[in-house]
């Protein structure tokens, strides 16, 4: 059993009050809170280590570069990538997807096909629409079943020699569905397609192993993993990253620049133009250390218990419907109560100190699929407790009472 009290102590924000109540933070799908070690690392970097990376000959520049590269190796180990150069620092998951989608604009042609799904976040839809617009490729969308899981038969029917790329989220941010990514990767690669997995909602809940998973690309954001905002990871297999055209031009990403011809640096630097968020990258290492110290399997166990308890308790509320009831689910509960608007529910809960997300969660196609304007969403993390779920249930009941 995890010592949640001890874990909570590491998060200063969890002891603050909101609207006169103890904060119950159930919006972890949007971003997680940060432990003191991450906050300290970020300020310590500016106080003692700040310098630009990969550039200077002086002491501090070397120190900053070492710290920066230490995180790359930490991430490599965290997701068991074969090489540290397969880890690219980006601004976030959205940025990571855009880097790949932008590269594929020149790699794809008319007649080629990209497969995504109906449950994707807008950031795993729009970049591919833009890629198709530029390349002439066609976008195919795997439909959702009523329980919030993917129609895998439709997926298999889409697969052909024209399929060049499949981009699917590991976990749905709205429905919590854990998609069968192993099966998707295997089947897509069998027809010669490359596969990108959007792991934004997965990386803090599911242990990752790139070498056994076999995805060509995998991406996630630091801020959903107890780390700083503005940092993301793009993992890519070395051979695939070498083929992918560079995204932004600038410093750091070049080998040699002349007005006749500029040659690019090798990976990972080819995709890291400009001065990055060094302090954020340095602090991200502490977030990974926080997770690995507890152990992802322990985190998953704890969150599963919370999910089961919360699901059981919310379903006791009459008229409440959960969207996303796939067998394999992450700690996310999206719900509506009768015809009540999720915005109203969220506003009342906020007054009681309970932070949840309401709206379409940047997944308008999912809302359209279920014919709803939005949902109220509870998303849990390692520091959440059963007691907090009880407070949340009380707040939901109060909202229902006031609004009915």
């Amino acid at each position: 059993m995890l010592d949640i009290i001890e874990i909570r102590k590491q998060f200063p924000i969890l002891s603050r009050k909101v609207n006169g109540h103890d904060l119950v933070y159930f919006d972890n799908g949007a971003t997680t809170q940060k432990p003191q070690s991450v906050i300290t690392a970020e300020s310590n970097y500016y106080q003692n280590e700040n310098s630009n990376v990969h550039r200077g000959v002086h002491f501090l520049s070397g120190l900053a570069t070492d710290r920066f590269e230490e995180t790359r190796i930490t991430i490599q180990n965290f997701i068991n990538a074969k090489h540290s150069r397969e880890i690219i620092f980006t601004k976030g998951t959205t940025d990571s997807i855009n880097i790949v989608a932008n590269g594929y604009r020149t790699l794809l042609n008319k007649g080629d096909e990209i497969i995504i799904s109906e449950l994707e976040h807008h950031s795993n839809i729009v970049p591919w629409q833009m890629c198709c617009e530029h390349s002439g490729a066609t976008l195919k969308v795997i439909p959702l079943l009523d329980n919030g899981s993917l129609d895998m038969i439709a997926f298999e029917n889409f697969l052909s020699e024209n399929t060049k790329l499949v981009s699917i989220s590991h976990v749905s941010n709205t429905l919590g569905t854990i998609n069968p990514v192993e099966e998707i990767i295997e089947k897509a690669q069998a027809v010669g397609a490359k596969v990108m997995i959007d792991g934004a909602q997965a990386a803090s809940h599911i242990a990752l192993n790139m070498q056994s998973l076999g995805a060509d690309f995998y991406c996630f954001s630091a801020h959903k993993l107890y780390g700083p905002t503005g940092i993301g990871i793009l993992y890519g297999k070395e051979s695939v990253l070498n083929e992918l055209p560079a995204y932004q031009g600038g410093g750091e990403m070049i080998k040699e620049v002349s007005f006749k011809k500029t040659t690019y640096a090798g990976i990972p630097h080819k995709f890291e133009a400009g001065t990055p968020n060094i302090a954020g990258v340095v602090a991200f290492k502490e977030a990974i250390n926080f997770i690995t110290k507890i152990g992802l399997s322990n985190i998953a166990k704890h969150e599963k218990i919370l999910l089961q308890y919360a699901t059981k308790e919310v379903l006791k509320i009459e008229g409440l419907k959960i969207y996303g009831i796939a067998k394999n689910k992450s700690a996310i509960i999206s719900f509506n109560i009768n015809k009540l608007h999720p915005y109203d529910i969220g506003m009342i809960m906020d007054k009681m100190g309970v932070a949840i997300r309401t709206g379409h969660h940047c997944t308008q196609p999912v809302m359209k699929r279920f014919n709803i304007p939005g949902t109220a969403r509870i998303s849990l993390a390692v520091y959440n407790t059963k007691n907090e779920i009880d407070i949340c249930i009380k707040a939901i009941k109060k909202a229902k009472l006031m609004l009915s």
Partner: protein, 138 residues
Amino acid sequence: MSTIKKIQKEIIADFEMFDDWIQKYEYLIDLGKDLAPINEKNKTEENLIKGCQSRVWLHAEYTDGKIIFTADSDAIMTKGIVAMLINVLSNQDPKDVATAKLNFIKKIGLTEQLSPTRANGLVSMIKKMKLYAIAFNN
């Protein structure tokens, strides 16, 4: 004192009676429920103000020198504020609407409802009400 100012003063006085947010919110919910319905044919795409969180429909007409607003929202709390705005600005001279200073929202402690980041459609609604007033005034 103009009618717009007077109505705002009345709303502020109403809210001063409430002890806590629950009473305030319950009052808003009631206002939302009691809002005179908008004619369904006026719930057009053109009259729709899309917020990220809630949606607002606003229709305006000019009759006998007065501007008449009707409106609706899919969220009841938003609708409650919509009802107050209608109460203050509808059935008024367009010139008064165009120049009206709306201070009651702040005074009754619902400023956060009018933050552009809330994306509930209310900020755009007020802007649109003023634009209608300016148009009818010319």
